[in-house]
């Protein structure tokens, strides 16, 4: 079964590349959002399997979005992404309840699958 993905990132160029990369790898990108609040709303409306979520958003932080999304019934898996390194966020990534973290430059079908399988944080 195809895995549906919602991309939440405020950089259109990155969203377009990520969409193309994931679609090429067989993922179904069901939607995009450019800020945290619309990301929460679209996640509620579309019920994707995975939310690929930028930590630094213009309105609320990615960590706040994870908390809101997890407050919904049957929440999707959330994978945090950032151009920074995971170490720049200390223990917040683990505490946020996200499935894992991928540095933006390292995003690929393989790294996403690894995180979703629980092998990578």
């Amino acid at each position: 079964m195809t895995c549906s993905v919602l991309i939440v990132d405020d950089h259109p160029g990155f969203r377009a590349r990520a969409r193309a990369l994931l679609v090429a790898a067989g993922y179904e990108v069901v939607g995009e959002a450019a800020d945290g609040e619309s990301g929460v709303r679209v996640a509620r409306d579309l019920s994707p399997d995975v939310v690929l979520l930028d930590v630094q958003l213009p309105d609320i932080t990615g960590f706040e979005v994870v908390r809101l999304v997890h407050g919904e019934p049957d929440p999707p898996a959330v994978v945090l992404i950032s151009s920074r390194d995971a170490s720049d966020y200390g223990g917040r990534i683990v505490r946020s309840g996200a499935q894992g973290f991928i540095s933006k430059a390292e995003l690929s079908a393989r790294t996403l699958a690894a995180v979703l399988e629980g092998n990578r944080r």
């Binding site: 193309a20 090429a24 151009s83 720049d88 917040r92 540095s103 933006k104």
Partner: protein
Amino acid sequence: MTRRRWGLAALAAAGTGWILGAEWVSIHHGVPENHLIDAVTGLAFLAGGIVALDRRPGNTIGPLMIAFALVSYLGNWGNIQAPVLPLLGVIGGQLGAPILAQIALSYPTGRLRTAFDRAVIGVIWAASAAVTIALLLVFNPRAGGCARCAWEPGPLPSRDAFTTALWVYQRAGFVLVPLFLAAVWLRWHRATRAERRALAPLWVAVSIIAVVYLMGAFASPFPDADPFAYLIWELQGILQVSLPVVFVWGLLSTRLARSAVGDLMVELERPLPPGELQASLARALGDPSLELLYAREGQDGWVDARGRPGSLPRPGTGPQARTATVVERPGRPLAALIHDPALDQGLVRAAAAAAGMTIENERLHAEVRAQLEEVRASRQRIVEAGDRERRRVERNLHDGAQQRLATLALSLAMIRDCDGADPATAALIAEASAELKQAIDELRELARGIHPAILTEEGLPAAVESLADRSALPVRVRADFEARLPEPVEAVAYFVVSESLANVAKYARASSAQVEMTRRNGTLRVEVLDNGIGGADAARGSGLRGLEDRVAAVRGRFCVQTRASGGTRVLAEIPCDG
């Protein structure tokens, strides 16, 4: 002797003649009263009034006391069988009480301060005036058997009405005395500590006199016919002597205070420690709450002896009320004494004049301290602005270059994953990807050096843990707090640890290091220890010198020591509560 003094002497002589003459008239007509007490009371008020006129020319207390002394004897003179004098005697009998009440409530300034005070005195005067008018209308001297006397009766002569009016006035004491006592209590309640100290004897005296007047409300208005009324009347006379005594005592206490100003001058002959002048002035003026502010040089504003900004108080009333006496030197403010409004202005100015040179010196000290404080605050603002700029640059790198490079990395990954590329192209793409990854890592490290995101996100302990993780040698981190600290404090502490660990890695030849962070009594203590060769010196290394400046900018303390057991100890203590 000045003309004014001559005038006062003439007034004293005339007043004494008026009082003694009146007593002679009373004795001659066989009026049953204690003439000695009567004369002493009048002379005491006359003397007190003349002293008050001399010392406080613009104050109404003096004229009121003299008026009391003079009107009290109109009744005595009324015994002379001459036209008008008996009528004046009738008037004089009702004027003493309102004058006394006004003196009591307006002491020491001569002004009635509150609307309630004015209302109470107004009511007492109105009652006296109403009774006086009634008495003048019904006055009937012949009803007492004086068939041949020269006294003219009033327009509606009636002995019964005359007696009734006097009874009514006597009984009005049931209302008027409690009203007066309420006004005295309110003044006490609103008074400052110094006012209470200064006015306590007067208020005790007037309260006792008021209570005697209240007792008089139970008595007959004719003291010669009722022993109890006579006793009350004489008691009033004796107690009223205390009022001029208390007032003169008030003047003398000002003189005593002036001698304290003399002591102050002696005290100021030797140099005072900086900031000690305020305490000396407070002692000399008897106002422990006195504060001393100094005018800034060439700008508006005031500072205390330590150079901290201060402001002059707004006018107010009550125990917390303060007033400012500004000391000036040719046309410009020099200092301001903020003190209890009850203090004698002349005394305050005398003390300020006595301390003139010391005030000048302290003002210069305060000016230097204020400028030092401004420099320190300016340095802190510069460091904080630098930190803000670092955060902005890091954020711009993150939002701009790092995002673009990440997107570029994804594009290269997509091209690399496409089928059909020849081996040479694939090799070039792989090489570009590796170069790009290197650039991204270097840019990330640069951004982290400018301002670590983890410090903003997670606070100091986590940021230092992250530093330790990336350090080239093992670093043990211990922090006894988790709460966030003010941003400037976190930034300074982080850079102390960051620079110190970098130095350990570069120069110390250490095998391990240790970071201790403790928060006690509003101070963050950051200690970086290593087991290397020691010898670090903040005076020589620009990095350590920079740290010393940063720590000083947030009013902290920084030192670098070579430990006796070997290695270096870097210690920063930074105030972190407000």
